[in-house]
């Protein structure tokens, strides 16, 4: 195989260079087998979803499930869109943007304060509180959230989904952003101060641009979590007009369960926006995630 040959060659080369990444050049059969096998396990269902979404219901029952359709059709996507998925898409978009923008903004401000002025009792306890908040499972708090939302007369509205989503995005966002702000060289802050910048100005003109990868990572991560959220919409909304995509998908399967191609077309449509977002922000997201968790 070509890959083994190049690996062999690289091993030779690195050995001669004398500064090899020892684990890089050597063959790792077990890891390789696991890696390729898992790739197949990951890709087969996704491939099946994609090709099935292009089949008509009758071809689906007759054809081999792993062979792509000879006459691909977008009819299933039309069925899904006719079932009001545009509205659910817009609802999800409103909730995701409406929650991520304020959540990341307030988290960034809090992280900045914690890093720059974190010695006082107030900010120390805020920091401790957010760290503890990482361990609060959303599931355990939904009953009081439901009660609060009813009392605020927000039940069955998108705002009902936005408010708790902001709260639960804050702890991790503050933690990751603070880690990155902490790595901004102290001299830069000092220089800004000598140039007469206020802390508010330093926050936006120094800390924000220098931690942009972290801000993008945190925003994408939160957007993903909120976009895919199921429990809050399930509990806090009722009418079809307020449905977000995951909930719509679930009730769509309840309705159209037998029409497998339409169901998987709905899956593809709900994932498409995230796929686009991921493609745009992939590099930063991956490096941000590994920096945030990997150590």
């Amino acid at each position: 195989m070509a890959t083994t040959a190049t690996a062999e060659g690289r091993r030779q080369a690195t050995r001669e260079a004398g500064s090899s990444r020892a684990r890089g050049g050597r063959r790792n059969w077990l890891g390789g087998a696991a890696g390729w096998l898992w790739l197949v396990i990951v890709l087969v269902p996704i491939y099946w979803i994609l090709i099935t979404s292009l089949k008509s219901q009758t071809t689906y029952y007759d054809s081999n499930p792993l062979v792509p359709p000879s006459h691909p059709s977008l009819a299933n996507y039309r069925t899904v869109i006719a079932a009001d998925f545009i509205r659910y898409f817009l609802n999800s978009l409103v909730v995701a943007i409406g929650a991520v923008v304020p959540a990341v903004t307030v988290s960034f401000m809090a992280a900045y304060a914690i890093v720059r002025d974190g010695r006082g009792w107030f900010l120390r306890s805020v920091n401790a509180l957010f760290l503890m908040g990482l361990a609060i499972p959303l599931q355990a708090t939904v009953i009081p959230i439901y009660l609060i939302i009813i009392r605020l007369h927000l039940y069955d509205s998108l705002l009902a989904l936005i408010l708790p989503s902001i709260a639960f995005a804050i702890p991790l966002s503050v933690l990751v952003l603070a880690n990155f702000i902490r790595d901004v060289p102290k001299e830069l802050f000092e220089a800004m101060r000598i140039d007469g910048s206020t802390e508010w100005g330093t926050l936006w003109r120094l800390a924000l641009p220098l931690t942009r990868p972290a801000v993008v990572t945190v925003s994408i991560y939160n957007a993903l979590t909120i976009w895919n959220g199921f429990l809050l919409p399930l509990i806090l909304t009722q009418s079809p007009t307020q449905r977000t995509l995951p909930l719509a998908l679930w009730s769509f399967q309840g309705q159209y369960g037998i029409n497998v191609p339409a169901v998987v077309a709905a899956v593809v449509l709900t994932t498409l926006p995230i796929l686009i977002l991921y493609t745009l922000g992939r590099r930063q997201l991956l490096s941000g995630l590994t920096a945030g968790f990997g150590k």
Binding site: G35, N64, Y112, P137, W227, V263, V267, T290, G294
Partner: protein, 310 residues
């Protein structure tokens, strides 16, 4: 970094001892908006669930104090130990499946090959799908009459996955692994890449083979990564709600009725918010105990700078 210090000509700064960290006072107000949101919709609900566990409420009418009635009811119900047991099974099995595979793939991906970078991109796909989308897809995929197994005439795949207790639990563990192994592989990839190459060079000089290197260097060096990843897995497994709700609805019977699902069904389907709050409190306590246990294993401040020691 040096340039900023060099261009600075300021006697006040020069007079300051070099070790003083430059900090500013009076920024506390910047944390207030985040604090308000967090207190209102996370902290108050957390305290609220404890208070509600001492009340009786059907979700619509008035909330009445009920003392320990809900606690008695839940603690005497055989459904609770069952739900705890199922939660534990899902947690332990999904940890046992995910950890070794994630480490293997992480080590594999850590080597800097271009095609492996492409693999990492493909691995990430399951993380983009919502749990609801994954559950909906697997339900369709594994349908005994219309799914993949039936279409391929492949008996192993066309079993009634959602109709038999053992199979349903196994399916949940498999789908969880399908969803999260890529994420944990990436964590391990990051961890492996931070192991100093000199350790391997020294081991090679000492004549240690590949397997020996893995167990004597890679695995011990990954200690903190394993703890981080395991914490996320274990605490995360308490919150598998969407996936199990859409995939099995806790069934067949109560075979996959984990704590989170037990709480939802008790509260929002049986309209017993008091007992449901008791289950929620138990859920929080289990999560807290597990997080503390794993933290003790690690003993590291998660707020520490990422650049420390580099």
């Amino acid at each position: 970094m040096g340039t900023a210090g060099d261009t600075r000509v300021d006697t006040r700064v020069a007079a300051r001892p070099a070790t003083t960290r430059v900090r500013t006072k009076g920024l506390a107000w910047l944390a207030v908006p985040a604090l308000v949101f967090f207190v209102a919709f996370a902290l108050v609900p957390l305290i609220g669930v404890l208070l509600l566990s001492f009340t009786s409420w059907n979700g619509i009418g008035a909330i009445r104090p009920a003392g320990f009635a809900s606690w008695h009811r839940v603690l005497r119900d055989p459904g609770l130990p069952h739900a705890i047991w199922v939660t534990f099974e899902v947690m332990a099995l999904s940890w046992a499946v995910q950890t070794p595979i994630s480490i293997l793939i992480g080590v594999f991906l850590a080597a800097r090959h271009r095609y492996r970078a492409l693999l990492a991109v493909l691995y990430f796909i399951p993380l983009l799908l919502s749990s609801a989308a994954i559950a909906v897809s697997y339900k369709a995929l594994l349908d005994p009459n219309f799914g993949l197994g039936a279409g391929l005439n492949f008996g192993l795949l066309s079993q009634d996955w959602l109709g038999r207790p053992g199979l349903a639990l196994g399916l949940v563990v498999f789908v969880v692994s399908w969803q999260f192994i890529p994420f944990h592989s990436l964590i391990y990839q990051g961890g492996v890449r931070q192991i100093p190459v000199t350790l391997y060079e020294a081991a090679q000089l000492d004549g240690a083979g590949r397997i020996r290197q893995f167990f004597s260097i890679t695995l011990p060096q990954l200690k903190y990564t394993i703890i981080t990843s395991s914490t996320l897995m274990v605490v995360g497994s308490l919150t598998f709600f969407d996936l199990i709700f859409v995939l099995t609805e806790g069934g067949p019977g109560d075979a996959t009725r984990v704590l989170a699902l037990d709480m939802y069904k008790t509260g929002f389907q049986a309209n017993l918010m008091g007992p449901a709050s008791v289950i929620a409190v138990i859920l929080v306590l289990v999560g807290l105990v597990l997080a503390l246990l794993l933290r003790r294993l690690g003993g590291r401040d998660p707020g520490a700078s990422q650049l420390e020691g580099v």
